[in-house]
Structures are given as structure tokens and as C-alpha cells.
């Protein structure tokens, strides 16, 4: 949605502030404004509702990398941050501290170091999955990194 009209927040009223800005810059990618279309409590209203839901999803607080600027050591941890990691076909598992990684990319780098490709597996594509609280196995990368850190109980690397 291009135009995100909001209630409550007026743009800054300084004379010099009318620089060129796109809507995205003006209102930020993670502004929590009120949707134009208000949704009823009791769920499905056809296309209206799905629009609102889509809008809400895209406008949901997107986790910015490195924001707020706190060191990983200061971030709250669950189960001390360490989770077990097993790779398909490798008998010995490892442990990795998710809370010491600030992004998926860093995690993948660490996993590559922990499980260097053996001769039979080099270059094979792999998928990193994690077990959630309710026992489901999810693909790492679908939800913001911080949510993964909070909810992952253990990891499994599958060969695709």
C-alpha cells in the first residue's frame, strides 16, 4: 500500500524540513500506525479483512538488524542461548549460542565452521530447521531473527 494515512502523528512542522523524502522514509518502515480499514473482532469479512491482515503483516514491526544498538550480551536470553545442533548424517552434535549471533547470516557462518562439508556432502544445499516450543520443526529464516532466538529449542541441519 503506497499511502499509509495515519491518525495521530503530524509530520514535523519545521520550515526547513521539506526535503525530498519518499513515504517510506517519512513514515519509517516500522511505524505502527492505525489501519484505515478497521477490523471487526469476529474474524473473516472477506476481501476487506484479508487486505487489513496483509497490511498489518507488512506493517508489523520489522526487526531491524542491529537496532536498538545493544550488544548481544545485553540481550535477554532464553535457556542461556545455547541450543543443540545436529546435522543429518553426522553422528556428533554441537552446541551454538543463538543469542551471540545478531543475524541469520552470522548463524550460517558459524554452522559452516562447525560442520565443514565432508567429502561426500560438499556444496550440497542444506536447510537449517529449528524446533519450536510446541514441537514443530520450522525453517530458519521465515520470521525475524530475534523471534527465532527466543523460540528455538534446538536446530537440525537437513540436506535438501
Amino acid at each position: 500500500m503506497e499511502l499509509e494515512l495515519e491518525l495521530g502523528l503530524a509530520p514535523p512542522n519545521h520550515a526547513g524540513s521539506c526535503g525530498k523524502r519518499g513515504t517510506k522514509e517519512a513514515f519509517g518502515i516500522d511505524k505502527a500506525g492505525l489501519p484505515l480499514i478497521l477490523r471487526d473482532d469476529d474474524g473473516d469479512h472477506g476481501s476487506n479483512c484479508s487486505d487489513a491482515r496483509d497490511w498489518e503483516m507488512s506493517n508489523k514491526k520489522k526487526r531491524l538488524v542491529g537496532w536498538p544498538p545493544v550488544k548481544s550480551a545485553h540481550r535477554p536470553r532464553s535457556n542461556g542461548g545455547h541450543v543443540k545442533v545436529k546435522m543429518e548424517g553426522v553422528p556428533i552434535g554441537r552446541k551454538v549460542d543463538l543469542s551471540r549471533h545478531a543475524s541469520y547470516h552470522q548463524l550460517h557462518h558459524t554452522l559452516r565452521l562447525m560442520f565443514p562439508s565432508s567429502t561426500s556432502h560438499h556444496g550440497d544445499p542444506y536447510a537449517v530447521t529449528y524446533e519450536e516450543g510446541d514441537g514443530d520443526w520450522m525453517l530458519v529464516g521465515d520470521v525475524p531473527w530475534e523471534d527465532t532466538v527466543m523460540s528455538a529449542k534446538r536446530l537440525k541441519i537437513l540436506l535438501v
Binding site: 502523528l9 503530524a10 514535523p12 512542522n13 519545521h14 526547513g16 524540513s17 521539506c18 526535503g19 525530498k20 523524502r21 522514509e25 519509517g28 516500522d30 511505524k31 505502527a32 514491526k61 526487526r63 531491524l64 538488524v65 542491529g66 537496532w67 536498538p68 544498538p69 545493544v70 550488544k71 548481544s72 550480551a73 545485553h74 540481550r75 535477554p76 542461556g80 545455547h82 549460542d97 551471540r100 549471533h101 545478531a102 543475524s103 547470516h105 552470522q106 557462518h109 558459524t110 530475534e146
Partner: protein, 632 residues
């Protein structure tokens, strides 16, 4: 205080010496009494050397090196030594040969061998690597900043080295082994925010460094190889004064630790990790009542009255305790066990502590002599109001967010900071994470505390305006820079336009480090900063609409600075190329999405640049870049 290897701001002063750091080694050119060739012209004739009754003082240019070096030894500040070195060739030589402490603020600013050759008498060296934003995950792994070349050069050229400190660098076990075996009088190892080593490397240190006084590990990522590194200290070893292993994840052998603490009677600083339970802390304290600084590690346990009594008795014996820290998931009922040390405390670091509530506040309120307080926002505004009333000697306050990502309730507002700044006359350094702010609060804070030297405010939600007036926070931050004439470090946040940067550029006359995120409207903002801020050393910017023009217009400024970081701004490759061409003494590094590795030469000028990192260097482009970093 450490001396710095800095490229002189006016390189023309000593072109030969500054541009060619491969100065001859000390042994070759030791001058004694005769004036050097450069100063022969100035030698006054006729007074020549004769010592008559009214003894003629030797002219400045013929002072022997020993005298110069002795004089320089009274200049501990790096800037002063640098200034002395820039006076003339004679002084340059005497200064560099006698320099004992060296601080290399950017490991890529100079080649390790050149630094070692230039300053052959160094006993203590500090080297920093990755840019500051690496702390927040903005620098992918394997970026560089390896300590190995520095350790190798030091092992070669500084056999008498006593102290080594690395910050944000990759330190391997091999580095630690080399340190342990290369310096016979090695005494102090400090590693801050480093990675790449394990407890096996630590074992090499504890085994090999017979004169070790300080082993200080701060916020490193240490691989746990379960080697009993503590056990490698020989039984005859008693020289330890500082032991900090708070960042270590694994277990340590408690019996070994206890024996070590018992026999090291000079132990002043002991910072434990989370693996040491509370009752063991008590018995350690009984063995080391002389401690000045204690980090308790994990301070959580069910309440037991006999454990409480043990702790209280142990702390009662610690008459010298001044600094306290720890990961207190504490049951608040234990806090009164500390009451006897509160009065003596000058530093309290509860930034890892989730303890909250009235017991926390009561505890802090008893710390009447506190100079440094680091705490979580769990203290809330009313807690800070109590701090304001109790801790009149407070100099530094840091308040960290307990729930950085949550949409939870705002625990801390501007009121806490206003109260503390109103009542603590010595407050000069602030780091404050909060949910909301107003211009009025900032203006009040600025009026109350013109003595700020460091002001870092982080409003958690980017681009948040003044929550009362809905205006930008330009007025508030402008008030800060106008009032605080000695401000050296500033971080801004909230909704800000180019105007605040005009103010910062014009008023930030002592500003050395500036951090900007999600602010500004246009190129003007960056231009104001780069064309003002006369003493700026480090500038780090993320997610601002700043483009190529101000960068190119102020290219020369960048050579007067240590480094510039710009990520998620509006830069293009063409401007970076122009900058690199115009300024050969800068290294212009581009970082792209690590997935994409096509060579930068093939990309057109208008390609967007995700991250730019520019720094001055006398070493030329580095050769250890990973595939996602390209030097333009």
C-alpha cells in the same frame, strides 16, 4: 594513558618521518650530544660549549637524547607526545625511541611491523579492530581485524612487552600461544569483544606467563574446549592482581580457583562467571577480603537464611570493596546481604541484572558514594528519582533496555534522566535507552548539566518525535550541544531533521565521536557535520538519507578523522570511486550483501552502496578482505 600512533594532522610538518614509518631501528641512530644536521644552521656561534662562570645552558637543539627522553616521560598523554614529536627531527627520534605505551585505534591504519620499528621501546600496546557497529551485528563474520600479524610483529620487535590489549579483533589460540612464549615479562592481557579463541588458548597463557598480573576477558566469545585452563597456573604462581572470566560460558574447577585466590594475596579484581553459585562466592570472599572489585556472576538462588548469613558475613569482611557487578537474577531478599559494602561502592554494574523492585532501589539508595551506575530500565523513573536524591557524586549513568524488541510497556521515560541530571552535579556521561522524549526535557537537561562530556540517548523506536508536541527533537539536541561545550561523544535518536546537524556542526567544537541513526532529511545534514565539528574523529551513520555530494565535497575532512561508517544511506559506487581516487591516503571499503560476490569493477557507477567504511591509513589497502568487502 597510552600514546597513539596517529597520522599527524599536518603531514607537511615532517614529511620524511611521517610518510616513511620505516625509520631506522633505534640502535643505529642513537645520538648523544652533538646537534643533528638539520639544526646545524641554527647553532649559535661564539658561545660554543665553553663553561664559564655563569654556566651557559645548552641550547635546546643540543640536549642529549637521555635528557629529552626524560622530559618526555612526563608527558603521558598521547597527544602531547605526538606534539613533541612533531617539533623537529631530533625530538621525533627521542620521543619515538622512548615511547612506552602505544594505542593503535585502527589496526589497519598502520602496518604492525612499521609500528614496532617506529616505537621500539614499547612495553604496553593496545590495538582495536572492527568498527564500533560490529557490536550490533552490522559487520558479518570473517571481516578481518586479525590479531595475528600484530602478535607476530610484537614477538619479533618487542621482546620486553608487558601488556597487550585487543578490542574487537580476532584472536586465535595460536596468538595466545605465541604471546605466552614470546615475552618473558608478560604481565597484562586484556581482550575486549574479541573472538576466535578457546579455553585451550587461555591454558597457554596461564601456563606460560609466569609474571602474569592481569587476565581481563571482557565480553568475548570464547569457545569452551573444557581444558582446565585455570589449573595451568603453577602452584607457585602468586602474582595475579586481576582475574576476569565473566564472559566464559563453561565451568571452572572451583577448588583450583579457590586455591588460586587464596595464594594470590595481591588479587584486587575478581570477576566470576555464571557457573559459580552463590555459596561459592561467599567462600571466595572469605579467602580474598582485600578485593577492590568483584563480579559475582550468576547471583540467583532460592532464599535460604543460612546462605544469607554466610554472604552477609563474607561481605562484612570486604572493607576495600569499591566496584561491584554481576548477572543478578537475584532473589531480592539477598540484597540486604550487601548493605555493609554499599557505602564504599564507587561503581555498580547491574546492566545484566534482572532484579527489580523496591529492594533494588533501597539497595542503590544506600550507595551514597556511587560514581558510576549501570542499570537496566527495570529501575524505572521512580527508581532513578531515588538515585537522584541519594547518589550526589554520580558521574556516569548507563540505563539499558530490558526488553529491546518488545512492544511492552514503556518502563522508562524522560523523567528519570531529568531528575538525575538535575540533582547530580558531577554527572558528565550518560547512555540512556528509553521509550519517549520531549524537547522540553532535553532543554532542561542541557541547562542543568553543561558539563556533559558524553551524551548518548537512544529512543527505542526510530524517528520518534517529541511525544507531547509531535515536533522533531531538533530543539532538544541543539540545546545539548549549545550548552555542553566540552561534549566529546554524542549519539542522537528520535525524529530529527537536517537542522539539528546544523547545530551540531556549529557547536560541537570538542566532539570526537558522533553516532546517527534514522535521522535527517537530505545531503545537507551530512554536509553540516562534515564541514563543522572541527575535532571529529569517528562518525558512524546508519539509515539516513545522506548521499554522495556531501561526502565528495568534504573529502579532505575524512583524512583528519579516524574513520567514517555509513550504512543503508544513499550512496552510489561512482562517488566512492571518486573519493578513493581523490584521497589516496584513505582506504575506501564497500560492503555488500554477503550473498552477492560479483567484482566491484564490473558494476556501474550508479550501483547503490549498502555499507561504506572509510579510514585513513599509512599502510595502503589491506590484503585480508573477505569476498563481501571490496576496496575501491
Amino acid at each position: 594513558p597510552a600514546a597513539s600512533l596517529s597520522t599527524p594532522s599536518s603531514p607537511d610538518a615532517l614529511p620524511a618521518a611521517a610518510a616513511s614509518p620505516r625509520a631506522p631501528p633505534a640502535r643505529a641512530s642513537r645520538r648523544v650530544a652533538s646537534p643533528g644536521p638539520a639544526t646545524a644552521r641554527a647553532a649559535p656561534m661564539g658561545r660554543g660549549g665553553a663553561r664559564d662562570g655563569a654556566a651557559a645552558a645548552p641550547p635546546w637543539h643540543s640536549l642529549p637524547d637521555e635528557v629529552l627522553e626524560h622530559a618526555f616521560s612526563f608527558l603521558p598523554a598521547a597527544a602531547d607526545r605526538g606534539a613533541a614529536a612533531a617539533v623537529c627531527h631530533g625530538w621525533l627520534g627521542a620521543e619515538r625511541r622512548s615511547r612506552r605505551r602505544l594505542a593503535v585505534a585502527n589496526c589497519y591504519a598502520a602496518a604492525p611491523r612499521d609500528a614496532v620499528d617506529r616505537f621500539p621501546s614499547v612495553r604496553a600496546a593496545e590495538v582495536k579492530g572492527k568498527p564500533h557497529f560490529a557490536d550490533f551485528g552490522l559487520v558479518p563474520p570473517a571481516w578481518g581485524a586479525e590479531a595475528a600479524p600484530w602478535v607476530a610483529a610484537a614477538a619479533d620487535g618487542w621482546p620486553l612487552l608487558e601488556e597487550l590489549s585487543f578490542k574487537r579483533m580476532v584472536v586465535t589460540d595460536e596468538c595466545l600461544e605465541m604471546i605466552a612464549s614470546s615475552f618473558r615479562n608478560f604481565q597484562v592481557l586484556r581482550l575486549v569483544s574479541c573472538e576466535g579463541f578457546s579455553t585451550a588458548g587461555l591454558a597457554a597463557i596461564t601456563e606460560g606467563c609466569r609474571n602474569l598480573r592481569e587476565l581481563d576477558l571482557q565480553e568475548n566469545y570464547i569457545e569452551d574446549c573444557s581444558s582446565h585452563w585455570l589449573s595451568y597456573f603453577p602452584e607457585s604462581f602468586t602474582s595475579l592482581e586481576t582475574l576476569n572470566f565473566s564472559c566464559l560460558e563453561g565451568e571452572v574447577n572451583f577448588a583450583v580457583l579457590e586455591r588460586l585466590v587464596s595464594r594470590c594475596r595481591n588479587l584486587k579484581t575478581l570477576k566470576l562467571n555464571n557457573a559459580i553459585p552463590l555459596d561459592k562466592v561467599a567462600s571466595l570472599l572469605r579467602k580474598a577480603p582485600q578485593l577492590v572489585e568483584l563480579g559475582t556472576g550468576k547471583f540467583s538462588a532460592e532464599y535460604h537464611s543460612d546462605l544469607f548469613a554466610k554472604l552477609e558475613a563474607a561481605f562484612a569482611g570486604c572493607k576495600s570493596l569499591r566496584r561491584l557487578s554481576g548477572a543478578w537474577d537475584a532473589v531480592p531478599d539477598y540484597l540486604p546481604a550487601f548493605y555493609c559494602v554499599c557505602e564504599g561502592l564507587t561503581s555498580l554494574n547491574l546492566s545484566y541484572a534482572t532484579v527489580r523492585g523496591p529492594e533494588l532501589i533501597k539497595f542503590i539508595s544506600r550507595c551514597k558514594n556511587l560514581q558510576q551506575l549501570w542499570v537496566m530500565d527495570l529501575i524505572e523513573d521512580h527508581g532513578l528519582a531515588v538515585v537522584a536524591g541519594s547518589c550526589s557524586k554520580l558521574q556516569e549513568l548507563r540505563v539499558f533496555p530490558s526488553d529491546p524488541f518488545g512492544a511492552g510497556q514503556v518502563l522508562l521515560t524522560e523523567r528519570g534522566l531529568v531528575d538525575v541530571s538535575a540533582s547530580c552535579p558531577m554527572l558528565e556521561s550518560v547512555l540512556y535507552f528509553c521509550g519517549q522524549m520531549t524537547n522540553e526535557a532535553l532543554i532542561t537537561i542541557a541547562k542543568n548539566r553543561p558539563n556533559f562530556t558524553c551524551f548518548r540517548l537512544c529512543i527505542l523506536e526510530p524517528r520518534t518525535p517529541d511525544y507531547v508536541t509531535r515536533e522533531s527533537l531538533d530543539a532538544g539536541f541543539s540545546a545539548i550541544v549549545e550548552s555542553c561545550k566540552g561534549l566529546r561523544r554524542l549519539s542522537v535518536s528520535g525524529l530529527l531533521t537536517d537542522l539539528v546537524f546544523k547545530s551540531i556542526g556549529a557547536n560541537g567544537n570538542c566532539l570526537e565521536m558522533l553516532s546517527i541513526a534514522f535521522a535527517g532529511n537530505s545531503d545537507l545534514g551530512l554536509h553540516y557535520i562534515l564541514s563543522g565539528c572541527k575535532t571529529l574523529k569517528k562518525l558512524e551513520i546508519r539509515d539516513c538519507p545522506f548521499g554522495n555530494k556531501p561526502l565528495l565535497a568534504n573529502a579532505a575532512k575524512l583524512e583528519t578523522m579516524r574513520s567514517l561508517w555509513m550504512s543503508s544511506c544513499s550512496l552510489t559506487l561512482g562517488a566512492c570511486r571518486q573519493l578513493a581516487e581523490k584521497m589516496p591516503r584513505l582506504t575506501v571499503e564497500i560492503m555488500n550483501d554477503p550473498g552477492r560476490t560479483c567484482p566491484v569493477e564490473s558494476l556501474p557507477d550508479d550501483s547503490p552502496v549498502e555499507t561504506l567504511y572509510v579510514y585513513r591509513t599509512i599502510a595502503g589497502p589491506r590484503s585480508d578482505t573477505p569476498d563481501y568487502v571490496q576496496i575501491v
